[in-house]
């Protein structure tokens, strides 16, 4: 474990980018990526929770008894999720409505609890911050790219502006549930092709 803080940050962007390398937290990935905007919104909300909970877990790691650590982590995460929920309700109301129940469901996103348990409970505050930020940004990038593919082909727009001519007929399969699964499956395949070890 002689990695530098930068290495911990960078690994979340490629080496361990969720959900492609670590197949965790698939529900929000599939559900909110109908548009790029929703994908980025969800990614930023998750990053915030991830960074804050990682910092707090790392700060309290010597105080929390190991028997009740999972329960303690869940409470810490739930607190920050509530913070995000209230903030989004106040400042980005349309996004809050379109993400719906997937904001409170960040609590049960395996990535957040996974990082708290696997990384933050064993490492210092600075390292945990870098890890949380890296994984969070990686997750946001993944959501945005999946959202881009689905939005461009599914509704012919990118961030709300049309990219094809008026004669384009949207490939509506992409924005529906089956398209989400197939699209993510094919993206995983591409990632496997590109990043073989």
């Amino acid at each position: 474990m002689a990695k530098s803080i930068t290495q911990e940050f960078v690994k979340g962007l490629w080496e361990e980018i969720p959900p492609f390398r670590l197949v965790l937290g698939l529900c929000p990935v599939l559900a909110v990526t109908k548009t790029v905007e929703n994908g980025i919104g969800m990614g930023v909300a998750t990053t915030f929770v991830l960074v804050c909970s990682n910092i707090l877990v790392a700060a309290l790691r010597n105080i929390i008894p190991s028997k009740v650590r999972i329960a303690a982590f869940i409470i810490i995460i739930a607190t920050f999720v509530t913070v995000v929920e209230l903030l989004m309700q106040a400042y980005t109301y349309p996004l809050f409505l379109s993400l719906g129940i997937f904001i409170p469901l960040i609590v049960v996103n395996c990535i957040v609890l996974g990082r708290a348990e696997a990384f933050a409970s064993k490492n210092g505050i600075a390292y945990s911050l870098a890890d949380g930020l890296g994984i969070g940004i990686g997750f946001t990038l993944a959501l945005a790219s999946l959202g881009a593919v689905r939005e461009v082909f599914g509704s012919g727009t990118f961030l709300g502006t049309p990219v094809f001519g008026p004669s384009f007929h949207p490939f509506s399969f992409m924005v529906e549930a089956p398209g989400a699964f197939v699209c993510l499956g094919l993206m995983l395949c591409i990632m496997n092709l590109v990043g073989k070890k």
């Binding site: 197949v23 698939l26 529900c27 739930a78 129940i101 409170p104 549930a177 993510l184 591409i190 496997n192």
Partner: protein, 191 residues
Amino acid sequence: MGDYIVLAISCILVNNILLAQYLGNCPFLGTSKKMETAVGMAMAVVFVLVLAGVITWITEAFILKPFKMEYLRTVSFILVIAALVQFVEMFLKKSIPALYAGLGIFLPLITTNCAVMGVCLINVNEEYTFMQTIVTSFSYAVGFGLALILFAGVRERILLARVPKPLQDTSIGLVTAGMLSLAFFAFKGMV
């Protein structure tokens, strides 16, 4: 009575929790490689989801609403569900060891299954009555089990097929799930 049947059908088939609402996908891909584990997970979800639906409804109606603390919903629900799963595990270990042996390892996983939390939140958001909550919780859980067992059956056959290397494992699993989801998509507009 008719209303309840319509509600049940809509939850099992039309709004299938896995394939139409995208909830609970981690256990969907994680436990579907073998039929045995899929059946175990499906049973555990049916069992816990009904209990969790009832308990969170009670929490919402008798604690959060009267004291105007709806903003604590996320925190309280996850705590209630975690405590419930822990309690069910201890109870089963002590009194029904046979069932515990069957469900055993799947129970702790359920705490972080977003299908459970998701259904509880849907029930509260839609303002269902107590009876409706029981019906929807049970039907969503049955829908989860149905999709999971169907998917496990397909996945066992895929093991025998020659899949290209980059597509193996999760990747082909997701594409298969997409096809299954397309089948369930046909139920849309039925209710």
